[in-house]
Amino acid sequence: MGKYVIKRLLIAIPTFFGITVLVYIVSSLAPGSPLDLLLQDPFITAAEIERKRIEYGLDQHVIIQYIRWLGELLQGNLGFSYRTHLPVWGMIVERLGPTLVLTFSATIFSVLVAVPLGIMAAYKPYSLWDYASSGLSFIGSATPNFFAGLILIYFFAVRLNILPIGGMYDTSGIRTLPMLVKHLILPAAVLSIQQVGRLIRQTRGSMLEVLSEDYIRTARATGLRENLVLVRHALRNALIPIVTELGLMIPFLIGGAVVTEQIFGWPGLGSLMVLSITQRDYPVIMGITVFVAVAVLIGNIVTDLIYSAIDPRIRNR
């Protein structure tokens, strides 16, 4: 087990450097330049732009630029925002909390809804129940977030006026948990719609497969009651692909739901990313990208560790 963890961690090191190279190359290949922002000032002079160019180090070769950036990065310095002149790391940390609140509550809700639905659909395949939950899952995964968001805002915020349109707290300046929950419901529901769709199908599929296995027949033949057969023998085996599906959701969990955060004005990482892209705030764009990529890297290692906790055959490899 210890060996397995160390192996996974060692593989992560070259992956990390690969990520930094990719992020840097893509950022420097992207059209436009950090200096474009300066052009918004009508009185700026060519000499002033040239001075900034040297100050930012943009006159150096791209490899030199990369190495300097990487050196700072390894010391934990993500640079300063061109827009706000604040440290990028601080900006990310400030936005991370709201994002995690939103995405984790959406994911926990999705798991709680989708896994039981998927199990029941697999237990009685081709029943009315199965068709209903499959239908639900197709509609869910086929509905774009912006559309679902607008529909929900229209009904619950505009017509019924029972939930706020957006934001995380209201403008009174008082921050309470009930208020947060009230603001959370709509964006979390929008995010859940797609997740539920994916998870129902995954759970149903893997559960159906497991239920036809011989050891389920063995368990039944020992006189174990059907609900115990499901929980004790089937579920744990069926969890392996479900964990994969959840592992694939990690980038989304950390990076935030860009579109949904934008619609609901949720002050998370996703909306910071959109803002930074439109403002050509390169240090923030690169900072968030590296941060999310590292989070995914760690998330994948955690997923692997969960696998080996569930499945002893992986542990001993």
Binding site: D214, Y215, T222, I310
Partner: protein, 321 residues
Amino acid sequence: MANTLLEVNNLQVQFSTIDSTVTAVDGVSFSVNKGETLGVVGESGCGKSVTSMAILRLLGKTGKITQGEILFEGQDILKKSESDMCQIRGKEIAMIFQDSMTGLNPVMTIGKQLIGTITVHEKMNKKTAEKKAIDMLKKVGIPSPEQRMNEYPHQLSGGMRQRVMIAMALSCNPSLLIADEPTTALDVTIQAQIIELMKDLKKTSEAAIIIITHDLGVVAEMADRIMVMYSGQVVEYADARSIFINPLHPYTRGLLSSIPRLDKDVDVLYAIKGSVPSLQNVPKGCRFCERCQDAMEICKNKPPVLCTVGDCSVRCWKYTK
């Protein structure tokens, strides 16, 4: 009659798919006495496994018992509720399956699975159940059982896994043990060991055994009586000695001739020509007629009934008067 443990009368099992219904077991009757061993022999697809799954009522969602009765200790199993069935499965009637590779849960330790089986039927604390599980492993000849308890199925060899399956099946002292091809998935040397083990268990426990196999060699060593099945029907049902000494049905003879023999010098191995007819398209007359060496005109048109010849039952026109 008080000695009869299991009596199956005119059992019919059908499987329905979207576009058709097939009869996998068609009018099978037999009985097993206490402590007796019955061998059920036949090719793949003849309905022997389906018969055994019907006894435990574990046919799944597509299979249905459409006719007949299954009396276990005088009570009709088909009339029992599902929760009564859970009391019978594992406790009264236990089963050993063919494939020990896939028959044990891959993510649970051997110990957990054994203890799980024991505590389904017997109320006891974890310590006692664990002790019993270790005892069972010892009984089926597993070396260092304490250590094996914490291992997973993939860490054991095929033979060891099959021993664990047998230990699981015997853990609640069932009065009937159904072994569905218990040696088929194993190496020949391991097969011999498992047969030895089953023979020992037959001596030491009072359980009646139904052993299902396509290998007459396996039942020759163990069975008191033998039932030969073909295409969902019983074609011959007699005590083991007479099956081997004086087989009546041409199919039984074919099966016996198919066993390779070292004491005779033959160039070509005997095989029964053709294959089992599809259950969707059952012949009008005798189901074996197309592959039979002794087929007569009547065999093609009229299905034979089971008739008694001495102590045996046989389904063949040759013996019908």
